[in-house]
């Protein structure tokens, strides 16, 4: 049975799409058959991050409307096996997503895939609600600042009240906190919330802490999910997060200030 995971946040620009791309790539690298769906109809980005924007023929909305089959719309990833991408439509808006349409596609995908990653749009409106409705688990992407934390809190409330699991009275949606853009130096200066503060406010399980890193930006611009950059701290942090998602117990890294050695200072790190 496939597991449906929504990557959501409420707030925009916190790293949902980056996270969706990396988590999906990480799962596929570990041999799980994975599909990642862009729910951000009208503002599609996932194809850029995954470098498949030139291969989009049919999209999610085409499939919902029966204008294309799933096989036609699914794009095979170039970096790893077992990974497929379903792009969002850029010319439509979020009303094109219907509950029945989304459900039909997810049910069909569930027959062949182990993991279905839903990259949610920002906000709490229709698009975001469609992305989270069928989720079994949720990765709540949060930046260490108050407004992002509050929006995450809001989306957690919606997960508890508007998801299919909540409506049917099933076990609640599994909640995971992923803290992104974490900068221990700025935490020390009091310019950012510490991991512990965010954990305390949101009171959910910590899936991972992704350090604020230039490698994330580089990876996005090159269209390679940052998890594939195994030398970068952010890539390693995402890799740990995927392991934890699969049930491994791993210690959290990159929470403290990294002391730069002599060579790093000389040659850059």
């Amino acid at each position: 049975m496939a597991k449906i995971i929504v990557v959501t946040s409420g707030k925009g620009g916190v790293g949902k799409t980056t996270t969706s791309a990396s988590i999906a790539t990480g799962l596929a690298k570990r041999g799980k058959k994975t599909v990642v769906i862009d729910f951000d109809v009208g503002l599609r980005n996932l194809d850029l991050i995954m470098n498949c924007e030139r291969r989009v023929v049919y999209d999610f909305v085409n499939v919902i409307n029966g204008e294309a089959t799933l096989t036609q719309a699914l794009i095979k990833d170039k970096h790893v096996d077992n990974l497929y991408i379903l792009a969002a439509s850029q010319t439509r808006d979020k009303d094109a997503l219907t509950k029945e349409g989304v459900e039909g596609i997810l049910n069909k995908l569930a027959e062949t895939y182990d993991f279905i990653i839903c990259d949610s749009p920002a906000g709490i409106e229709h698009g975001a609600q469609m992305a989270l409705h069928f989720a079994d688990e949720a990765i709540v992407v949060t930046n260490p600042e108050v407004s992002s934390v509050r929006d995450s809190d809001r989306i957690l409330g919606i997960l508890q009240s508007k998801s299919r699991r909540a409506e049917l009275g099933m076990d609640p949606v599994g909640e995971h906190l992923l803290l992104t853009r974490y900068n221990p130096e700025r935490v020390l200066k009091g310019e950012m919330l510490a991991v512990e503060d965010v954990k305390e406010i949101l009171a959910i399980k910590l899936l991972g802490v992704i350090p604020d890193s230039q490698s994330v930006l580089n990876a996005s611009n090159q269209g390679v999910p940052v998890i594939l950059d195994e030398n970068s701290d952010a890539g390693q942090a995402y890799s740990d997060a995927v392991d934890r998602l699969l049930g491994e117990d791993k210690e959290h890294r990159f929470l403290d200030i990294q002391k730069k050695g002599f060579f790093k200072r000389m040659f850059g790190g």
Binding site: R150, L156, G157, Q160, A166, E167, A203
Partner: protein, 290 residues
């Protein structure tokens, strides 16, 4: 959906043992809203009632109401019940009885189809409970003054059990039924944007209440996690309602319409276990642990 625990009481045995009987009269305690009149001016009453109801539209919709006459200043005043009922009907509340008042007033009420319930006295005075407030108490902000006060009380409608064939088993159950008050228990965090309301009873939250969340109860509120949102106890006017919390970090606390906002709360008991109650009509924060 939020988990809530409600005790649902059903009189199961009634269908079997009393199948030959058609009706039974039993004593029961029902929470009722009381509208206290201070003076009578039908136009002014209607406008201030409308104001109260507009603060919580829906709470009072179709609610049965007892009109209390104990606090009417001028005893000889003639109350036009027909007019009063008209105003109430327009605001969609339903007076069912009067309480207190003079014999003449009661007679007038009966003529308008209202019942008369006995006046209840000897309610516990909150002032008798010794409580030491925090040293630097800040001024309470009062909600806009309103003429009629809507107060939530239990209206005892005690009548002896006059079931034709009262079985001993039923006799035992009746008092229990009377004490039944619904308490809502929430096990999960109340998140920003969520609202939880315990109608007619207490609210117990076993987790955190986030900023931007709102918890309301007709009775008391207990929060066994940090209280960071808004907490409103006694929303239908019960001035004896209290709020108890393990860590007071609220955006707003209110009891029966009197409130304090976060800014004022910082001065007394911030982030400590506290209780909030009304003492001499003044919202007071007192520490729970000493």
């Amino acid at each position: 959906m939020l988990l809530s625990v409600k005790r649902i009481h059903e009189n199961m045995h009634a269908s079997t043992s009393l199948s030959e009987n058609y009706v039974q009269l039993k004593g029961s305690l029902v929470p009722m809203t009381v509208m206290e009149l201070f003076q009578f001016d039908s136009a002014k009453i209607e406008s201030s009632l409308a104001q109260i109801i507009s603060q919580a539209p829906g709470f009072f919709e179709g609610a049965p109401i007892i009109i209390a006459l104990e606090k009417v200043a001028d005893e000889d005043i003639v109350i036009d019940f027909a007019k009063l009922l008209e105003s109430c009907a327009a605001l969609r509340i339903k007076p069912v009885a009067v309480r207190g008042g003079t014999l003449i007033q009661q007679l007038a009420a009966k003529k308008s189809g209202l019942a008369v319930v006995p006046s209840n006295k000897g309610r516990q005075d909150p002032k008798t409970v010794p409580i030491e407030p925090f040293a630097n108490e800040s001024a309470t902000q009062e909600a806009p003054a309103t003429k009629p006060v809507l107060e939530e009380v239990s209206s005892p409608q005690e009548s002896p059990d006059i079931a034709p064939k009262a079985e001993p088993e039923q006799m035992e159950e009746s008092p229990q039924e009377a004490e039944m008050v619904t308490t809502k228990i929430i096990y999960q965090p109340v998140r920003s944007g969520q609202q939880v309301y315990a109608r007619g009873g207490d609210l117990i939250i076993l987790a955190a209440v986030s900023p931007g969340a709102e918890i309301l109860a007709d009775g008391n509120i207990h929060v066994y996690g940090p209280l960071r949102g808004r907490a409103l106890a006694g929303v239908r006017g019960n001035t004896e309602a209290r709020i108890f919390c393990q860590s007071l970090e609220a955006e707003l606390v209110s009891i029966a319409g009197q409130y304090k906002i976060s800014e004022d709360l910082q001065k007394s008991g911030w982030k400590s276990s506290s209780q909030v109650c009304l003492i001499d009509d003044k919202l007071t924060i007192t520490p729970l642990s000493k």
